[in-house]
Symmetry: C2
Amino acid sequence: MIRVVCAQVAPEIGDLRHNAAMSAAAVSSAAADGADLIVLPELVTSGYLFSSTDEARAAALDPGSPLLAAWGRAAGDAVVVGGFCEAGEDSAVYNSAAVVDRSGVLAVYRKTHLWDAERTVFSPGTAAPPVLDTRAGRIGVLICYDMEFPEMTRGLALAGADLLAVPTNWPLVPRPSGERPPEVVTAMAAARANRVYLACCDRTGTERGQAWTEGTAIVDPDGWVVASAGPGVASALASCDLGAARRKTISAVNHVLADRRTDVYDQF
Amino acid sequence: MIRVVCAQVAPEIGDLRHNAAMSAAAVSSAAADGADLIVLPELVTSGYLFSSTDEARAAALDPGSPLLAAWGRAAGDAVVVGGFCEAGEDSAVYNSAAVVDRSGVLAVYRKTHLWDAERTVFSPGTAAPPVLDTRAGRIGVLICYDMEFPEMTRGLALAGADLLAVPTNWPLVPRPSGERPPEVVTAMAAARANRVYLACCDRTGTERGQAWTEGTAIVDPDGWVVASAGPGVASALASCDLGAARRKTISAVNHVLADRRTDVYDQF
């Protein structure tokens, strides 16, 4: 069993100093709560609603930044997955996520599916997201809108991920009374289809008039929400048996991955 | 707008005469309610829990059967999608669905993903499910466990289906209090990921000790359940604007199908 914490914090746009201290404090606090894996929101180092690439570039970091290393130090024995605004060596700016532990940055993933005005600010990544053997388990990484593509969640499950860490900034959208945020429904179905955990960490606060869903949710391989952080709630914590995500068998003969009929899918 | 009716009926195992009359009556009743598309459960002509292929073969039909043609006559101007136990020309028995209108059988699809003991009874299909231009619109067909594979729902959306008709027999499984059946969560996510309608028609009754979920649900392209038939409810009816399923755009620049990054998926 591992303890997973999603820290539903509120970065301030462009204020790296504030966001560095705030995110490191969230990591420290989660580690003190016994977390093995700590997920932070998308673009937690920088905020989200940049009006231009130049504005984002002024808040961008390279993966060697002390800010990311500080997450690893604050984490103790835990692993951190958090979003950051990345200054590419090619001068492009990426909406990225780093996987960090006390040894440093283990991997960086650049969001491949860009949402709405992100396309005017960020360059899309071109590499598939990583699956990493970390001290907390086999972790895959996606960022927000990436998760809406079943190809991505399936691909990470096929690549062996037991848990998908998903830093997000979910803009608040209308939904029928009594319903979960639609992104959480998507996470539940992805978890069930692949028998993996998903840990989606949303943000809170408002930014340049944008309200967020505050829909942080941790979902188990049966597809049920085992922890969530609604509006005004600072974090979600769940104990996750990653071994359950290795058991893909759902009847005497059915297996969610082995049952795939690629011979049929190739006909579409 | 089309009116979609899912008829959550109860076939009797092996009793073709009963099932023929019962299913034709359900089609007539739905047509009288103004239905344009009528979905019947999986294996509605035969029942489900056969103990052997031989027993299923005794209840199997070929697609030229008068039983299926009778659905088309009972349907008036409507289109029917319903499950039947198919006697293959190869002497195999298939868990199939027929698309029928008053002109006759338009297409037959053989379930490709077989659930549990179905594997000891039925042969799996080898062809991708059809997308048909019917008088009710562009309809794709899946059967029960097929829908659990995101590749199938995505494939039908890419092939142009606006609505997926899904005859099912969902065995009742435990779920947390207050939750929808897990299959409905999957349908909601598939609808939203692809901006299509899904009309999942479950069955009712018990059969050889098996209880069914009675989880019939019609889901819109935003992923919300617009009609359902719970335990003891005979049908679900919804007006569906299939034009909404042609609008795949979800922001100023995002499109649920055009945003796919096949260059990234190919790296998995």
